[in-house]
Symmetry: C2
Subunit: 489 residues, 2 copies
């Protein structure tokens, strides 16, 4: 066996164990009996210890020295193995353990602080998390930029500087658009009560319309929707609210997008480093293009309106146009996860700028709430009245996920680029969508992007699929055109 | 840290990983999308490789040399750790791998042979499995009895010789009883169609009646009912048949018995070697006493009859006596898993005698079918007409489980002993059972047996709970009295 083959065997078993650990997480959110939580923590910790030992196994370092890959695919596999090994071995074991311990505790401290609307109680907790993450970033960066070192975990190759430039171009146009929209009369929202079992049946219909492969996946209920797994076992979850069927429907479409990416990867990459989505940003581009550019399009909404009427009877919305307007209703709100396409990225930009300041040492945690509230008022035109609507709303920082937020907006930007290319490649897409047939879109995405998994870097993956270098332009054009038409601007 | 503490930390993480691997098995039978089977095989193999490496870790051997446990509990933990380490290290790695490979393949070869009713096609497969298992037994036994070496995996401390003596006393009385019963008119069976969703609701009611803890467990559908897990996460499965609600009800009670044993173990033993059932025989004693001695008693059947009428309306059975007779209807059949309390152990005795001959080299696989058929006719008074009703019916030998069968009957024998002791300890048990209250029985079992987990050896566990040495007498007395009364003998 060559060193390369040994590396691949090792990586394959590690990937298989990662799938097991991931499914343990799925089980915890969907199936686990409530009384099993403490035992589960020990089980998960034991799996993490096994994985950590494998990821830092000195044999991997030796094989990497000796490996001579042949061809592009082998070179890409090796690049990802080397990258994972370097990152795993750069962080001292004691620090990794300390971060795991502190963030496990800070997760519940954050939940308590949010429930109590008690930001001061959370300040020392977040200070400690930030201190440890800066230490980790220093170990990873080797003297380079701290924020970039963490960002690289989620979006290999991206830098805070390049994202700041892109996001800087988004912000003024989005702020201007939201101001114009909110001066216009709001469309009627959907009203009523919607049977939750019927909602679930409809999410299955919609998942099928988006080509979700139930032979290699399933949909279950969970408190927070998510997608889990790679290869031949990619499960998604959803949730229902009797007053808001859009929540179940669009979170399902979103997760189907994530799932389709994993399920669409070339079978030859199964359980290898190439066999999963290349970055969080590219992943989010798939969930967002399914959810927004396709799922919230006028054409698809026409078909969905028919399914809604079949399922729930006539609604307070007179027809597909009013339905489309309700689906895309723009509202200024405090909460990121409830935001529409116009506001969503403004939420992210706020977080991105603040977390870069925190990481650079230019903003103290003690001053974070004031900075948040000032920025929110500037961009959203409203005052934050309680921390649970502001700086305490997201779990990410509490558990050390600095550098994660920008991948949401990067995903939206990438989705904008992909939709532009897709519209050019499939000029009659809307005719199919109006029949509930998404296959011209999903086939194009699988063929041009999903199948390649981790073969190329994230930005290169998008550029290759689109035929042009990604930028924020197509997303802004799409948003301005869509909402301009909807609001008669 | 002392060597003992290191051993316990290691054992605890290993137990946690075993729980993860076990839950992967549960998932495979209940939740896994069908297209995930091949990937799952790799995931399971990766987990097994991790577990094998831990079980044979030379550090464990060193710590065992150095460990000085204090007290009975520590001594018992150490005994089980030593036992597991010795067994894991005695079998050469190549042989273990070969057995895993061959039995994985032979499982599907058996299924095909059974479907095709083609015993000759399966003979060479079983010969190979037997050859490998005899080799494994030789490695384990160190010159001792081959059968005992394998039996010891399932029932530590038991020997083929001692079981043969016990089973020899069972056989003539059971054969005589079944002949007398089959001369009598058979009671009316339950007839009709029973809504499967309603059956599932009733299995939940019945599981609750037996104290199953849904905070630490759940019930799902699977092709074959089973119980899975230890500690705080013990799940069971059931199946429904529209023509036979007894299948769902009594397989559920059976699995609740297994589950109650695991859930009843002292919390101080969580994720330690003592923290699971001590042997297959003692496990089966719990499932059987729940299912048969309690669940099929006249008192409990009276309560269950009421629940059946509530759920399904009036049945073709006129009242609780006829219901009790239908639940306990004796029928001579070819299939072990469908057998009643009178016939069940005769099925096991047949397999036990034949597998001992195979293991000793006194019966060739080529002659196994003839030996099976002759013995079946002698004990059951019927000729086997196809191998799928005879020698091909069970999966056990195909996957190398020699020495497993006798634990079923040993469990029945132990259940007989426990019921005798329980009846003496709780004289008014039937009054509670008639109200659907099993707690006097389940509390007694938890207090006297379940909580102790692996603290004592299997036979000692039963003796300690009963206050007398276990023997086949109480089971025979119970069966003869119950069925003598039912059939007016």
């Amino acid at each position: 066996m060559t060193a390369y083959d040994k590396l691949m065997d090792h990586a394959r078993a590690t990937r298989a164990l990662e799938q097991v650990a991931g499914r343990l997480g799925w089980d915890q959110e969907t199936m686990m009996p409530p009384g099993a939580a403490n035992q589960r923590a020990e089980e998960s910790a034991a799996m993490e210890a096994v994985l950590h030992a494998r990821r830092t196994d000195p044999q991997v370092g030796e094989w990497l020295e000796a490996a001579a890959p042949e061809g592009d695919v082998a070179a890409a596999q090796l690049r990802l193995i080397r990258r994972a090994y370097d990152r795993a071995t750069k962080v001292p074991a004691d620090l990794a353990t300390e971060i795991a311990r502190v963030t496990s505790r800070s997760h519940s401290q954050w939940a308590a602080a949010r429930a109590d609307v008690d930001w001061p109680a959370f300040v020392p907790v977040l200070e400690e998390v930030l201190r440890l993450k800066r230490e980790e970033a220093a170990a990873l960066s080797g003297g380079g930029d701290l924020y970039d070192a963490l960002l690289d975990d989620f979006e290999p190759g991206a830098t805070g500087e390049s994202l700041a430039e892109m996001f800087g171009a988004l912000r003024p146009r989005l702020v201007a658009l939201r101001e114009k929209i909110l001066d216009r009369p709001a469309p009627e929202p959907l009203r009523g009560r919607f049977d939750e079992a019927a909602q679930l049946r409809l999410t299955h219909t919609v998942a099928e319309a988006f080509g979700y492969d139930f032979q290699r996946g399933r949909i279950d209920l969970a408190v927070h929707p998510f997608s889990s797994g790679s290869g031949h076992d990619v499960r998604i979850t959803t949730r229902t609210d009797p007053k808001d069927p859009f929540g179940a429907l669009y979170s399902t479409i979103h997760e189907v997008g994530h799932g389709a990416y994993e399920l669409g990867i070339d079978d030859g990459y199964l359980l290898t480093p190439l066999g999963h989505g290349v970055s969080m940003g590219v992943h989010e581009s798939q969930s967002r293009i399914y959810e927004n550019q396709i799922g919230r399009s006028r054409a698809f909404c026409g078909w969905l309106y028919g399914r809604m009427v079949e399922t729930f009877g006539e609604m307070n919305l007179g027809g597909p146009d009013a339905f489309y307007a309700a689906v895309n209703r723009v509202e200024s709100g405090f909460i990121r996860t409830e935001a529409d396409e116009v506001h969503y990225n403004l939420h992210i930009l706020l977080r991105f700028d603040l977390e870069r300041l925190l990481m650079a040492g230019d903003l103290a945690v003690a001053d974070l709430e004031d900075a948040w509230d000032a920025r929110f008022e500037a961009d959203f035109g409203r005052k934050v009245e309680k921390a649970s609507d502001g700086v305490l709303q997201d779990v990410h920082w509490a558990v050390g996920l600095f550098g994660y937020f920008p991948t949401y907006t990067l995903g939206n930007v990438y989705a904008g680029c992909l939709m532009k290319a897709l519209r050019e490649a499939v000029p009659d897409l809307d005719a199919a969508l109006a029949e509930g047939d998404t296959s011209p879109a999903t086939d194009w995405l699988r063929e041009n992007l999903q199948q390649h998994g981790g073969l190329r870097g994230p930005r290169e993956t998008i550029a290759k699929a689109c035929g042009f270098e990604p930028s924020e332009g197509p997303l802004l054009d799409y948003i301005e055109a869509k909402f301009g038409a909807l609001y008669g601007l």
